[in-house]
Point group: C3
Chain length 207, copies 3
């Protein structure tokens, strides 16, 4: 397995983990089967689709390569059928979700660069790729989007930091471009894990 294949494999893992988290929430909210599929799909591909909308690349990527949707359908059926067992997989899901966040953020920032966005455009494209699906999931399920909410592990900010690393490498160290995605994703993953393991938090002001 070479390097691009390895990245693609990780990208798939990320998508499927995000789909699983959407499907699990849908079951908790007692959505029916189609609702589970929709929430799983929105969580998995929503972030990338918002990014594609913003850079003007329409229709979004997901509708040009639909194999990912078939995979989301499979995940939805599995979660529906084996809810009890899947929902006990907290820990592996957490780690896959972290890897997914890192990869989506790095790939989103790269896509922003491809479409000629500037500094904040790339940060935004990376961050929204990473966290947009989760935000749509929470809004559709009637919850405050957890991504901003108080006192959690670093999440959106970890994605932003990864996108920032990708941007900096492409702009200032083009000789390292081959490594940009990997370094960006690693940054996001490292930040999120250190926030879990070391209790690292962003400051929250008192109102």
């Amino acid at each position: 397995m070479n390097y691009p294949q390895f990245l693609e494999l990780l990208g798939w893992l990320a998508t499927l983990t995000f789909a699983t988290s959407g499907a699990l929430l849908a079951v908790q909210k007692r959505f029916d089967l189609v609702g589970i599929f929709v929430l799983a799909g929105v969580t998995a591909v929503g972030g990338g689709s918002i990014r594609d909308l913003l850079v003007g690349s329409l229709p979004p990527q997901v509708f040009r390569n639909e194999s990912v949707i078939w995979a989301v359908l499979l995940i939805s059926l599995l979660v529906w059928r084996f809810y009890g067992r899947v929902s006990r997989l907290d820990r592996p899901i957490y780690y896959l979700d972290t890897v997914g966040l890192g990869l989506f953020a790095a790939l989103g920032a790269e896509r922003g660069l491809t479409f000629g966005l500037g500094f904040w455009g790339c940060i935004f494209a990376g961050t929204v790729s990473g966290v947009g699906g989760g935000i749509l999931r929470d809004v559709l399920a009637g919850e405050v989007p957890g991504v901003f909410y108080r006192n959690r592990d670093l999440y959106a900010s970890a994605a932003s930091a990864g996108a920032l690393v990708v941007f900096i490498i492409y702009k200032f160290f083009p000789s390292l471009a081959a490594l940009a995605l990997l370094l960006g994703a690693t940054t996001t993953i490292a930040l999120r894990l250190s926030s879990r393991w070391l209790g690292l938090r962003l400051p929250t002001p008192k109102p």
Copy 2:
């Protein structure tokens, strides 16, 4: 009245029914007059506009033929003025809404095909045309989008099934293309009505 005119008439009826359902919710939520108009409009044309955004057909159709917005304005004024009487029209509104769902889903799937979307793209374009307006309506009114929620009549899934029928006919039975819209819409309507009359439900897993 020939067949295209008949379809267009139904399409108008569908739009106006959706507008009515938005306006009624706005009155219940004590929105003011502009809020009623906005919620009616979003419900009536929101689904089609999300679809147009996704296929990259901008500005959305509604801004190229604005007569529909004048009609929504009229509906809003009527609902505002005659709230009591309109809100008692539950049953006819339910049937018109069902017809509207079927027509929007079929027309949305056809539009997806026109713009070169694949299988899931067409299903999505059809479904979001049918249910997108209602989702926006619920989010803007601060409710969990009822479309996914537990134990209701088939709704999003009925729309998806209708879009599926349109897709299959266009792809595999092109000689029947003239009937595709009608058969798709009929599928959606039949599924929704049988869910109401026969208690047909999608399975909802227990969390």
Copy 3:
């Protein structure tokens, strides 16, 4: 300072005021630092970005001139650091917000005209430019979008009226085009202020 510079200055003031209102809500909701920045940014540029999405001008303006985002970052840091003092500035923030609403609505309507939208398209472009950011802010913070809600000062409707004035002047009094923005903005501001000072309200029907 000439007239275009004066308008641009007001536009900046408007953006910064909107950013401040987003940042203040984020602090009240106990968002962390990144959440504050995101909510401030969405409030400041969300309306204009929805408008750009709808007219098909992608990527949105904000990603082509990023200085506004740096300013939003600065505002977020200031609100975070000086929350107590900023939150007591109710009254100046209210007036700046009113000026901002008027300017955004007028500028949005003009942009709609530039992209060839018709009557309702321009009204919508103007209104969504003015109030879209606040709607996104409220949805992301888990609140019913205050913009529609009962018994408040005129807000969305004031923005629509301003956009209407811009549209009418451009279409029917082209010789006054240079004044269109100013007259539109003034209409919005005058309506909102008279609703505050005189208790002017839109009718709200009883459900």
